[in-house]
């Protein structure tokens, strides 16, 4: 069975008990992203204090990978500055392009925390978009909130 490689315990835990779920006030930017091939959706709000991420709140529907990914992202970026969060997003992108190469995951363990568990997803091209959707939404929200009312 290859399945356990992709569906790590950590992923299933985030899926069953998502962290930070729900839409909250206040926020400076709200974005809605969909994956047009499967219909998965996420609505994400970003609240900044200065350039620090004070809250990321979200609602969405989708598969275990997309739902767990947004939960792990919430843990990772809360309290980080926007540039730090975007850098984490770049690391996550690198992980998704690793085609399952374990050395890439090893190198990124400290930077990505729980999100490194998604390494197995990179072996399944059709699922990479699921894992990336929330990160794309965060990037988009950051661009909108940046320079907006702080």
């Amino acid at each position: 069975m290859q399945l356990e490689n992709m569906y790590q315990e950590i992923i299933l835990d985030h899926y069953k008990n998502p962290h930070g779920r729900g839409l909250r006030e206040p926020f400076e930017a709200e974005v809605h992203h969909v994956n047009p091939t499967c219909g998965d959706e996420v609505t994400l709000r970003l609240h900044l204090e200065g350039d620090t991420i004070a809250d990321v709140s979200y609602e969405g529907m989708g598969c275990s990978i997309s739902q767990a990914s947004v939960s792990a992202m919430y843990d990772l970026v809360l309290g980080k500055t926007v540039p730090q969060a975007l850098e984490a997003g770049e690391h996550f992108m690198t992980l998704m392009q690793a085609k399952g190469d374990p050395s890439v995951a090893e190198k990124l363990e400290d930077e990505l925390e729980d999100a490194v568990a998604f390494a197995g997803v990179s072996k399944y091209p059709a699922r990479i978009k699921c894992a990336l959707m929330s990160w794309m939404a965060l990037k988009d929200a950051s661009a909108r909130a940046w320079g907006g009312p702080a």
Partner: protein, 440 residues
């Protein structure tokens, strides 16, 4: 939010393991791809023919024969190869026409169903500005209406939305009932004197529903509207005869009926085709070309601009001959037996809900379902791990999943090489997914 909770009924009427109409083992031997394994040595259980079918060796051989023996551009050049290529291409047109009971001059080759539908949609808007009066016969404009249904594949919806946007016409549609059928109670108001064209699928690619086209065609013709039937999921799976159908257009894709990718068919009544302006223009579709302007060839050449997909057309003719040898009645009966068996098998699994008609009455072999508390992507992933290929998502029919209040479904589709063992594997795979995600 309306949910269709049509549990497969006990009375699907198929005795378990009654012999199937087709000899599955013999047919499988014709499909080279079925001998490969997937995901670490597992037998390939291909339940995604609705997306695209696999190809028997006979089809692959026909394409190879064309390239190795007669390859040349049909209808261009006077050399022997060009003559033979033209002969093979036109003979294939006659074979494919014969498959749906149509004369060869009514068969237009397109890239696929999508392009065939776009061809008609663009011809109808081009008609408004055509300089030749007879090409304006079917012009669509402000005040006109186009009718579709809520169960259409995006290919038979978006082109009509776009036609309406280009021309100022209005799009109307027939809705769906809770058990996955067309809502026909308002047929006479939805299709009315303003209707210019009704575009409707014969078999839904997501619900499996087979639509009662007779009543709809009759009503459309009563008000003088054209009818386009999307046969992408019917022509591969049941006998279809254009005379019985009574429609004006029928469209389908070669790749869903054992044929190659890159070739589809638009059938149109000759008198209707003859009054349509072209969609794509260029070489091979002209009559006379001068710098000041051009005139166009008669159908079907008017709609086949450029060097055509010749080898693919030859391959599609081989696919048609393969299906004819099996007999389309037998193909239909085979899939009906499998569908009944699948509906029964799924009914035995707690938490599985079929989206679509619950029994095999007026129903084809597209079986969509949800598994309680497991997203279709995750169901599909576990099935894939077992070597089972299904489709997950909205199946290019987003309004349908929205109508039934689910984000997506898992869909199994059957074909001539599908056997009971494939459906048993599917049922086992679903149970494995439930075990893996701890929902049972």
């Amino acid at each position: 939010m309306t949910q269709t909770v049509s549990r497969p009924s006990e009375s699907s009427g198929v005795a378990r393991n009654a012999p199937l109409p087709l000899d599955v083992e013999a047919i499988r031997a014709d499909f080279p791809i079925l001998t490969r394994t997937v995901r670490d040595g597992k037998r390939l259980v291909y339940l995604d023919s609705g997306a695209t079918s696999q190809k028997p060796r006979q089809v692959l051989d026909a394409e190879r024969w064309f390239y190795e023996n007669v390859n040349a551009a049909p209808h261009r050049g006077a050399h022997q190869l060009a003559e033979e290529a033209t002969g093979a291409y036109e003979a294939a047109r006659a074979t494919i026409g014969g498959f749906i009971g149509a004369p060869e001059q009514e068969i237009v080759f397109t890239r696929n169903t999508t392009e065939a539908i776009n061809l008609v949609a663009y011809a109808l808007s081009n008609a408004a500005t055509a300089k030749e009066p007879e090409f304006r016969t079917y012009a669509v404009g402000q005040g006109d209406e186009i009718v579709v249904t809520e169960m259409e594949h995006h290919a038979n919806l978006v082109p009509w939305q776009q036609l309406c946007e280009r021309t100022g016409a209005t799009l109307r549609w027939l809705g769906l009932t809770d058990d996955g059928r067309l809502e026909l109670s308002n047929l006479d108001t939805v299709i009315n004197e303003r209707t210019k064209l009704v575009a409707i699928t014969q078999q839904s690619n997501i619900l499996g529903t087979i639509n009662p086209l007779g009543d709809i065609v009759a009503r459309a013709h009563e008000v003088g509207a054209l009818v386009l039937v999307d046969g992408a999921q019917s022509v591969p799976h049941q006998p279809v005869d254009v005379t019985e159908l009574g429609a004006d257009f029928l469209v389908f894709s070669g790749h869903k009926m054992l044929g190659p990718t890159g070739v589809g068919v638009l059938w149109g009544k000759y008198d209707v085709l003859d009054k349509l302006p072209p969609f794509l223009t260029g070489g091979s579709m002209i009559e006379v070309v001068r710098m000041e302007g051009s005139t166009f060839a008669a159908p079907p050449q008017r709609f086949e601009a450029g060097v055509p997909m010749s080898a693919q057309v030859i391959g599609l003719a081989a696919a048609v001959e393969y299906l004819q040898a099996l007999g389309m009645d037998a193909v239909e009966a085979h899939e009906k037996a499998l569908t009944g068996y699948a509906l029964e098998k799924l009914a035995e699994i707690p938490g599985v809900t079929v989206i679509g008609p619950p029994d095999t009455v007026a129903r084809g072999g597209a079986v969509s379902f949800t598994v309680e508390d497991i997203h279709p992507h995750d169901v599909g992933q576990v099935l894939d791990d077992h070597g089972i290929a299904v489709r997950v998502g909205h199946h290019c029919a987003w309004p349908v999943v929205r109508r039934y209040g689910v984000p997506a479904t898992t869909r199994a589709t059957f074909y001539v090489h599908t056997g009971y063992d494939d459906i048993d594997a599917l049922a086992d795979g679903i149970r494995a997914a439930q075990k893996f995600f701890g929902t049972v």
